[in-house]
Amino acid sequence: MNRSGNKWALLAISLVFAVIYLFPLYWMYITSVKSQSEVFATPPTFWPHSTDFGIYATVWVRRAVPSYMWNSLVIASGVTAITVFLGTGLAYVLARHRNIWIDVGLFAVLMLQVLPASVMVTPLFVAFNQLGLLEWPRTAVILGASAKAMPFFVVLVRATFMTVPRELEEAALVDGNSRPGAFFSIVLPLARNGVLVCAILTFMSAFGEYVYAKSIIQEPGLQPASVGLQSFLGPNTKDWNSIMAYSAMYVTPILGLFVLLQRRIVSGLTSGALK
């Protein structure tokens, strides 16, 4: 039997699987540059006869893409900052100690991880309304989404901290470092990569956040790109090349980031979520 030939056959079939799976992405990009009439052609063309990149400029202006993208960026940055700032410390403590309180804390974090945003949004909205926080809707969304993102971040980052040998930290303490000193100068630098990957994952998911933003932010000028996309997605829409162009502009930065960091993201995810 030809074993190496067998391997190339396996590779070829796996590429076919990947092409089928990634077809929706291809279809998004290819539809966005088709002319309006070609979009509705039956049967559809799998390679466009004529391309029109002008749609991107049109959608960019007419659909206020810069404003929507800016708001997505603000929300994602805010969520990531809060999550990393508060989550890293919690993950570290949960990784370092073993007692009944840690077990309780860990259980609480795992339970919070499963709460659906659509369940949490009703009480959050009513409470924010009572506290007057709806005056600053983006801040309100950032706070709610951070609480949603943090448990997953903590579970993943905790797994990273578990891999940092305790002895290194104890040696630093013996050398006269304070406990915070050992944390910031020894443990954190060693766990840097893992924390960074989890921060990027948090950023990506907050960049696509929809439920909280749709429910809490009423003013179009403050809404993120997910809400902007939904606003022209009605059930009877015909404007598919514009929608696909908008989607492409929205998703391409994330795809770029993903392709750059694919290997790290995959290993970061697998170490924490499950082993």
């Binding site: 559809p44 943090m150 499950l274």
Partner: protein, 292 residues
């Protein structure tokens, strides 16, 4: 250990944040489901007590049965599809061939994409008159007439399920791959020497060794499916006539379309009970790994 105060400070700060923005709202939700909430009492904490009235009202809604049935179909259909296809691909990519881990990693793009974008793309793919799925099915002769996935009441729910399977498949595959990789190779070699067939090896080695992984993946699938929201506003908006509506979208509609926050809270509480059951299974099946 000296300087334990530092650790306590770190943990307290974050736990206080989580308590304020997740724990308290959760309890507040339960409280609201027993209160009368309307535009006048929205701003006050003490509202007229409603007892079980909200729950009775939800059960009496004409669409209650339909939505519950849809939720069950959505959850079971999505999990089955994600798991079976994810497991199949995980087994395939577990074979040793060049580029296997890189190509497998590519699948994960679906997981980092905004849900609304995934929904928009699938909404176009599934369109009845000019959608590419219908075109492909007609070209290959599987169907003669175009299928109106989104507007046919019998199919609208399945339109969302198809998109959700695509979305969740990669994550299932990744987690199952990790489980497969941890099974020692020599177990298979020994079984092969003893003359076990491929199916026997799968049934007597792979499945038993993967038991805790499968438990965790299925309960994560249940949790993820109950959290899935973005595809509904993007593809069907729950329609036509609630035929693709599920509990999580219905709860949101009650609060933010009809401004009936008490009913929204009530549906959420009912859903929560289900999610908590799933999460107990999940916590139990990951406990050994997570606690290290």
């Amino acid at each position: 250990m000296d300087g334990i105060g530092f650790d306590i400070a770190l943990a307290t700060l974050s736990l206080a944040f989580l308590l304020a923005l997740a724990g308290v709202p959760l309890l507040y939700n339960v409280l609201m489901s027993f209160q009368q909430v309307d535009m006048f009492s929205l701003g006050s904490l003490i509202r007229p007590w409603a007892g079980l009235d909200n729950y009775r009202a939800i059960l009496a809604q004409p669409e209650f049965g339909l939505v519950m049935r849809n939720t069950a179909i959505f959850v079971i259909g999505s999990i089955t599809g994600q798991f079976v296809l994810g497991f199949g691909l995980a087994l395939y990519f577990n074979q040793n061939f060049p580029g296997s881990s890189t190509i497998r990693g590519l699948f994960l793009v679906s997981w980092v994409m905004p849900g609304l974008v995934v929904g928009a793309i699938w909404s176009f793919i599934l369109a009845g008159d000019f959608g590419v799925l219908n075109a492909l099915l007609q070209m290959t002769g599987i169907i003669d007439e175009p299928i109106f996935w989104k507007s046919n009441p019998a199919l609208s729910l399945y339109a969302v399920i198809i998109a959700n399977i695509w979305l969740g498949l990669a994550f299932n595959m990744l987690l199952l791959s990790v489980g497969l990789a941890s099974i020692p190779r020599d177990l298979y070699e020994a079984a092969e020497l003893d003359g076990a067939t491929r199916w026997q090896r799968f049934y007597t080695i792979t499945l038993p060794m993967m038991r805790s992984t499968i438990g965790a993946v299925l309960s994560l699938g249940l949790i993820g499916t109950m959290q899935q929201f973005d595809l509904f506003p993007a593809i069907t908006e729950g329609g036509p006539a609630n035929t693709s509506n599920v509990a999580q979208f219905w709860a949101w509609q009650m609060s933010f379309k009809l401004y009936d926050f008490a009913k929204g809270a009530t549906i959420s509480v009912m859903m929560l009970v289900l999610v908590l059951i799933a999460s107990v299974v999940y916590v139990r099946s990951t406990r050994s790994e997570v606690r290290g």
